[in-house]
């Protein structure tokens, strides 16, 4: 079937936008090969599309907009549950007060830790999402990607911690009543991985504890949730855009460490944690 110029004219935008099905597209292209006028028309339309794609300004999200939006939402987690609709003020003080004076981590600092601007962070966020759908990852790879996303998202929104504290005796009991398990909270300050706080999170629909550490300027999220008994050695994976994960199972818990810290140091972190965990098991601690 040969196309005539009239049909070519009608299908031009469809072709430019990839909306013709394959047989239609092939017939269209065949016409272009033998018709220099329609070929030129196509190139002109495609040129306009390319001009917009490549040159038109894609406006970046201004600083602070994400924060303002989040701050304007009714607060979530433990304060809102069972209280129904309340006005925002009391929640703001409870949940977001640390955003203001005396905050351990302000959102601006979170941006700086990421080392990139807001729009780049969103680009990474999007890229991580796209990769998730493009590949056919194993369960662990998929989980790893989810956790990297969660980590990046926490950085982006400045919501790194529900309980900012460098004291394990503050962080550990904070989880009481919020989780039906007690996560081990281990301080590795002496080894160069100080504890900076914790938060509650939901991974694949179930609650998880996140213990937040720091190695120099790199935050490390340690996700912990209970699993049936099992034990294995730490296994590390490279995530997207320079993020790494190390995961292992021990003492009835699943551990996933996520950071943009380099692989070697993150593995070191995991090893130190495991060692200390076993030491702690040996000597009962309240």
């Amino acid at each position: 079937m040969r196309l005539d110029c009239k049909t070519c004219k009608d299908q031009l935008d469809l072709y430019v936008d990839g909306e013709l099905d394959v047989p239609q597209a092939i017939v269209f292209e065949q016409h272009l090969e033998s018709c220099p006028e329609c070929k030129r028309a196509y190139e002109q339309m495609q040129g306009i599309q390319a001009a917009v794609r490549q040159q038109a300004t894609y406006f970046a999200v201004p600083d602070g907009l994400a924060d303002r939006i989040l701050a304007g939402l009714p607060a979530n987690a433990e304060k809102a549950d069972g209280e129904g609709q309340k006005d925002q003020q009391p929640h703001r003080r409870n949940r977001w007060s640390w955003l203001g004076a005396g905050a351990a981590i302000a959102p601006e600092t979170a941006w700086k830790w990421l080392g990139i601007g807001a729009s780049a962070a969103f680009a990474i966020m999007l890229a991580v999402n796209i990769q998730l759908y493009r590949n056919l990852p194993s369960d662990n790879q998929q989980l790893g990607q989810t956790l990297v996303e969660d980590h990046v998202r926490s950085m982006m929104t400045g919501h790194l911690m529900d309980v900012p504290s460098t004291d394990q005796h503050t962080v550990k009991p904070w989880f009481n009543g919020k989780l039906d398990f007690s996560p081990p909270v281990i301080d590795l300050k002496a080894q160069g991985f100080p504890l900076i706080g914790g938060r509650l999170d939901y991974i694949a629909g179930h609650p998880a504890a996140v213990i937040v550490y720091r190695r120099n300027q790199h935050p490390i999220d340690l996700f912990i949730w209970p699993v049936t008994q099992g034990q294995n050695e730490p296994a590390s994976m490279a995530g997207k855009h320079g993020y790494h994960t190390v995961h292992w199972q021990d003492a009835g818990m699943m551990f996933w460490a996520v950071s943009d810290l380099n692989k070697a140091e993150l593995e070191q972190f995991a090893q130190l944690l495991q060692q200390k965990l076993h030491q702690q098991d040996a000597t009962p601690v309240s």
Binding site: M45, R53, Q55, A56, V61, P74, A80
Partner: protein, 179 residues
């Protein structure tokens, strides 16, 4: 759904599309402060109605809310600007054929078009009526399908195509003047 669950869902599914939301709002309102106001309002609505969202990809859903919020906002604050009568079938058959003939035979080298200055492109895009501008943004900047654009703009797919077609010819005509 508790407020906590709604907030979690919002953060997981919706917030990542803030970039697309702001860009669309910015192109429709043509002003940073107004775009921010619109996006904040749209996000409040998205949060309130989030229980109605089902699925994996919240981008078209969010952009629908943003677009509608933009148009309500434009109606309220910028009604004086609508001094053109938006006519879907503005071009006669003869006009369309003459346009196509021009595409086939006259005008600048394609390379010149593609390399047009950013300022000129931005200006040309800003001058399009919003109904044409939005389909260009949704197609050429967000790379959404005709089907998705049809849903967001609440128009048939055929209208998406004809608006894109006309928008691109208007852009070309504008660029030709500058080059």
């Amino acid at each position: 759904m508790t407020e906590a669950m709604k907030a979690r869902l919002f953060q997981e599914k919706v917030l990542q599309h803030l970039g697309a939301a702001y860009n669309l709002a910015r192109w429709l309102t043509r002003n940073d402060a107004d775009a921010q106001d619109v996006v904040q309002e749209a996000c409040m609505r998205a949060f309130r109605f989030i229980e109605g969202f089902h699925g994996e990809n919240a981008k078209p859903w969010l952009l629908t809310i943003v677009r509608n919020t933009c148009y309500s906002w434009l109606q309220k604050h910028r009604s004086h600007e609508q001094d053109y009568s938006f006519d879907e079938d503005m071009d006669s058959r003869e006009q369309l054929e003459a346009d196509y003939h021009a595409l086939q035979t006259v005008g600048p080298e394609t390379q010149l078009l593609m390399n047009a200055d950013r300022q000129i492109i931005d200006q040309a895009l800003a001058e399009l009526p919003p109904e044409f501008r939005e389909v260009v943004v949704l197609k050429d900047m967000e790379d959404l399908s005709y089907k998705e654009i049809a849903e967001i703009a609440n128009i048939p797919m055929g209208t998406v195509m004809s608006r894109l077609s006309r928008a691109r010819r208007m852009l070309r005509a504008r660029l030709v003047k500058e080059l």
